[in-house]
């Protein structure tokens, strides 16, 4: 593998500190890895404006790419087009379910003021669920509960 391929693989394997099984590639926030005049430039897209994990992720990417032998590394934030949960890969959705977090349904990003999309319980798969709060333990998750199996669960917000 040449340097660029190694750098790309290293960047793609960096994980989200708040959802450790998920890589930046799974999350769809890794936009581009290129060699620019001797510098490896990695472009990532922020998930939420205030997501505290972005800084750690950028640092981890820089470190991982350096370890492949790259001497000059730059991590760039690309704001547009804005990240959406539609970019979560199929692998990401499977990993979220395994963590007990309901993945977002693609294309549900724009909820009406009082509309509530049905969210399936990650444990029993019932859609007889209700939202407890639109805001959860991190910017990307909401709190729900299943009215069928009675378990509370987190759901990845549609964004």
């Amino acid at each position: 593998m040449d340097l660029l391929e190694r750098a790309r693989a290293a960047a793609a394997s960096v994980t989200d500190p708040e959802l450790p099984p998920l890589t930046v590639e799974d999350l769809g926030i890794l936009r581009d890895v290129r060699l620019d005049n001797g510098t490896i430039e990695v472009a990532i897209t922020p998930t939420y404006s205030g997501c505290p994990a972005m800084r750690e992720i950028a640092g981890a990417i820089e470190k991982a790419v350096r370890e492949t032998g790259a001497e000059k590394v730059r991590v760039r934030h690309v704001l547009t087009p804005a990240w959406t949960t539609d970019w979560l890969t199929h692998v990401a959705r499977t990993k979220l379910l395994a963590l007990g977090i309901a993945p977002p349904e693609p294309g549900q990003g724009t909820e009406a003021l009082f509309g509530r999309p049905a969210v399936a319980c990650p444990r029993c798969h019932s859609t007889n669920t209700e939202r407890i709060s639109a805001f959860g333990s991190t910017a990307c998750k909401a709190l729900h509960r299943c009215l069928n199996c009675k378990e509370p669960f987190e759901a990845f917000k549609c964004h």
């Binding site: 939420y48 404006s49 205030g50 724009t110 009082f114 709060s133 639109a134 805001f135 910017a139």
Partner: protein, 235 residues
Amino acid sequence: MATTSITLTETPQVQSYLALADDALVLGHRTSEWTGHAPLLEEELALANIALDLIGQARMLYQAAGELTGHSEDELAYLRDPPAFRNALIMELPNGDFAFTMARLLLVSVASDQKWRSGFADPVLTAIGEKAMKETAYHVRHSAEWLIRLGDGTVESHRRAQDAVDALWPFTGELTASREPWLRAVAPVLHRATLQQPKDGWMQSGGRTGRHTEHLGHLLAEMQVLPRTYPGAIW
């Protein structure tokens, strides 16, 4: 030794970035003051999340302003005095009770939502807005649900919600360039909340030109004391 404040040459573009950034930072800071004091655990998380969204938006806007002024986001947030802040006055008012906090969040978020959605000629603001509008939609919904619950709740919660809306109304004139769309979005929520929509009268203004209420200085004193006392301090 305490650091000295920065002075900026404010082109109209810099001023437009700072107005949005200062709105988000000051309201974000006010919202974060609820952390540890919210009436229930879910609300604790919600308010902390909303504050985080707003401060995140402020950071992106300060970074954009920094490209034009040569100042870092930290310098813009921490090393300006009250008259250099361009936020609307409504952002800096103390939180009051929970009804006041939610009523303000609604009145402000409806204006922000419309601002982000209306788009900008400036591509930097458009890019920031693409992200921010999704977050602001959550803020509108959360605050609208609370205001309806409070307004259409008990006699006491109704009274507090009405007092909040009445007290905030004269501060809403600074929020929008065009008031009609904002009124059209706010009115149905007030109606559902069984609250009286105050009549438009004399409006408070001055925030955009740096004439602030006495509250901003106190807020900034708390926000800025650490970086001003220990310049360059890091975690």
